[in-house]
Amino acid sequence: MSHISPVLWQFLVKWLTHFALFPPEASKIAPQMDALYFFIVLVSLVGLTIVILLVLGFSILYSKKRHPVAVQIEGSTLLEATWTIIPLGLFLVMFVWGALIYFRVYTPPANAMNIYVVGKQWMWKAEHPGGQHEINALHIPINQPIQLTLISQDVFHSFSIPAFRVKREAIPGRYNSVWFEATTPGTYHIFCTQYCGTEHSHMIGEVYAMTPEDYRKWLASSTSGASLAQNGERLFASLSCTACHNARPDARGPSLVNVYGSRLRLSNGESIIANDAYLREAILDPSQHVTQGFAPIMPTYQGQVSEEGVIALVEYIKNLKSDYRIQQTTTTTDLLPESEGKAVSSGSKTAGLNPARTGMVNQ
């Protein structure tokens, strides 16, 4: 082999050792999507083979040498109907099959753990419910449905994990979501697939799919000291939201206790479910989202709160389950991370974790 050029040799070695042909199947949806993918591959191959055989076969059989005089044929309704109906039927099968998978990918189950992801030029910032945040990395446990709520702070981005076969656009001004359930521990690529400017190709990261034990260890070692809802609580107080949203009988704003998921009637007569997107809109553009019975006096917070801040507020409001908590907030405007007893959010997954303040990880 000594006469092979070293560059070529290196290339051949690379070919044999670092050559991927198909991405790993590391999520629950991946094998399902791949089944459809290979079905379409199969249909394509059969179709292509038929076309090639027809063209080659006729070229040989009816070449001018062999078949000097052409026979004029008008057409054949039967044949044409055949190659209209068979492809149409196959395409419809793919359509239905594809739609089933599509709805599965974009319909998160109720028990999914929600992680917020903010895209910005040029990084992905993930906000975990326990307050952990990370940049261009995402730690998740396997065998648990994870929902990502995506938003962009600037331009369009697109959050893609090829190994999980999921992708969702992160768009400024609205929450999009996608979910997956990882099945195989490992490290996989996160790509931004929507062109987003100069460093688009560097907006990549890694997703770390971990066993539940490893994941718990990671959670404990990466806590920033306060959960996402607690950060929201602080922000809620410091923005003086409590001046109006204080659940007192004479309050100028509606009580936010248990507002998440409830049906609201707005002053314009519209009836709406208060979900993440609604809460976000109501904070940034309150004049369009006035609850019936209240005056449109809330100022806009557009430009005053970052997308991460809004996320923290939304997470806080989502977790407001009792009058007790709103009372507590109204009296602890100077809430500090040290106020341990008050700060453990009810139902939050961080409860019981090692409260060691090891500082902000990845920040």
């Binding site: 690379k14 076309v51 054949s76 190659w83 992708k167 001004g173 190709s201």
Partner: protein
């Protein structure tokens, strides 16, 4: 009698190019720049689109060189972004959209329907000037800093975040849009009003049907692109906020507007290619196109359905799941007419008498590559698999198979097929067959690995990429160099043939179209007398009878 070719050239020792023809009628630059002759305008277009093709091609070369290694080393990321943006803009708006319609369509539609010119010759010239003006503006924008939005001008990146020549480029595309609206309008009026006596709709060559469908798309679709671009320009200059969520606008609205044009634009690019293929396949198999009516109506069906599938570019963007259902279904429906065409062409060969001159080789290449391009479109129209494959190299490979493997092959097929009519001289056969083969091989090597890259998840528009994708990228770049050779060869030998090519005579292919029943190159006024169409399109028996008559009258 049963030789391997149908080429029938006049005796070269006595043959002469006719003294009076559209090329020799008048001389001097001004006679070209002020011409109203559709054939001269077609030649002007041919020269200008070739120029833009090679600029776009050079940019493609830079992209492939950069992607030879995983790091962004040859070009800085900003430069790379500008290069792929300009590659897309030039290739789509300044090459693919005008390629077949403005050159071959312009040249041939009046000849094929028996008219002396297009209905609006001055508008035709104006459309070329608009095109050139727009092209110069685009080149100016490129030289003075370029643009890095991608050809898709995604908001809010294009409106708020980049500092490159978005406005200049936007204006250039806006102007180029009017050029294509005028061409489309001209074709529609001409096809409706200027068919010769006896030329009923169903006696028209399928080439004309394809261009009719294209023209409808151009006239109805392009204004929407113009609106979208004007809104982007207004957003940048005065901040009207239509696409800005902070002002109550919706950035997704831009996607809707942009793709409402840009999906039909895909059909603007491919339908004229299909139109060429129908002519070529029929001529070289000496047979009427199998199922003429089905092929004609499938063009119209593509044009109509093409307007209702735009949101399949937005499946992952967060439009409602139910609108995804509808757009995915409609996408499946628009795929059917293309399948019909492919099978009808294949069955045109059945019981034909086939020869394999260069245009036919390109047409075979088209059929293979377009089938792959079309089938991979199904992967993307299927909503489930689209999630994984969209915005990756899979989509890049898919549309290059359709646009380059399909449209460019068809353009080259058509260019070789009608070259003798346009210039009066034949291109050299052997080397052009070689060029067709080189193009086919180079093309597959360039773009097939990209399907695998896309399936692996490599995103498009990346200046650098993880190292495990390198091997396939090396193949792709190697293929691109071969493809480059394949495209340079025709420029060389076609230019050579202008002076040294064999004299073609009226009808070297013994084809049936009206354009072949006149001298090559044609007279400025095309027909001394308006012809009367007394037979169906692709009537080879009629052609035989004509020949017998001629022999009888001479003898």
């Amino acid at each position: 009698m049963s030789s391997a070719t149908i080429v029938n050239l006049p005796d070269q020792s006595t043959a002469r190019i006719p003294k009076m023809n559209y090329l020799s009628k008048e001389n001097g630059l001004l006679s070209w720049l002020l011409t109203g002759d559709h054939k001269r305008i077609a030649i002007l277009y041919l020269i200008s689109i070739s120029f833009f093709f090679f600029i776009g091609g050079a940019l493609a070369g830079l992209i492939r060189l950069e992607l030879l290694t995983p790091q962004s080393d040859l070009l800085a990321t900003d430069t790379y972004n500008k290069v792929f943006s300009m590659h897309g803009i030039i290739m789509i708006f300044f090459f693919l959209v005008p390629s077949v319609p403005a050159t071959l369509g312009n040249f041939l539609i009046p000849l094929m329907i028996g008219a002396k010119d297009l209905a609006l010759p001055k508008i035709n010239l104006l459309s070329w000037y608009l095109y050139v003006g727009a092209g110069i503006l685009a080149i100016y924008a490129m030289i003075t800093g370029g643009v890095d939005t991608g050809w898709t001008f995604t908001t809010p990146l294009s409106t708020h975040y980049v500092n490159t020549n978005v406005i200049t480029t936007g204006i250039a595309i806006f102007i180029a849009g009017f050029s294509s609206i005028f061409t489309g309008l001209n074709f529609i009026v001409t096809i409706h009003k200027m068919r010769c006596p006896g030329m009923t709709w169903f006696r028209m060559p399928l080439f004309v049907w394809g261009h009719y469908a294209t023209s409808i798309l151009m006239v109805l679709g392009t204004p929407v692109l113009a609106i979208a671009l004007v809104l982007v320009i207004l957003e940048r200059t005065v901040g009207i906020g239509v696409f800005d969520p902070a002002k109550g606008g919706d950035p997704l609205l831009f996607q809707h507007l942009f793709w409402f044009y840009s999906h039909p634009a895909v059909y603007i690019m491919i339908l004229p290619g299909m139109a060429v293929i129908s002519e070529v396949i029929s001529t070289f198999s000496r047979k009427r196109v199998f199922g003429y009516t089905a092929v004609a109506f499938s063009s119209v069906a593509i044009a109509v359905f093409g307007f209702f599938v735009w949101a399949h570019h937005m499946f992952i963007m967060g439009i409602s799941n139910y609108s995804v259902l509808i757009f995915s279904l409609l996408t499946m429906l628009v795929a059917v007419p293309s399948a019909i065409k492919i099978f009808n062409w294949a069955f045109t060969l059945y019981k034909g008498s086939i020869t394999f001159e260069t245009p036919m080789l390109y047409a075979f290449g088209f059929m293979g590559l377009f089938t792959i391009g079309g089938m991979t479109g199904i992967f993307l129209g299927t909503s489930g698999t689209d999630i994984h494959l969209t915005e990756t190299y899979f989509i890049v490979a898919h549309f290059h198979f359709v646009m380059v493997g399909g449209m460019l092959m068809a353009f080259l097929a058509g260019l070789h097929f009608w070259w003798p009519k346009m210039t009066g001289r034949m291109y050299p056969e052997k080397i052009s067959q070689l060029a067709a083969l080189v193009t086919f091989i180079g093309f597959n090597l360039t773009f097939f690995p990209q399907f695998i890259l896309g399936t692996l998840g490599m995103p498009r528009r990346y200046a650098s990429y993880p190292p495990e994708f390198q091997v396939l990228n090396v193949f792709s770049t190697a293929g691109a160099t071969i493809l480059g050779v394949g495209y340079l060869l025709p420029v060389l030998y076609l230019t050579w043939s202008l002076k040294y090519g064999e004299i073609a005579g009226d009808n070297p292919w013994q084809a049936t179209g009206l354009e072949w029943q006149m001298q090559s190159p044609p007279l400025t006024e095309n027909f001394r007398e308006i012809p009367i169409m007394d037979h169906e399109a692709y009537d080879y028996e009629w052609l035989e009878r004509q020949k017998e008559k001629e022999v009888a009258s001479v003898g």
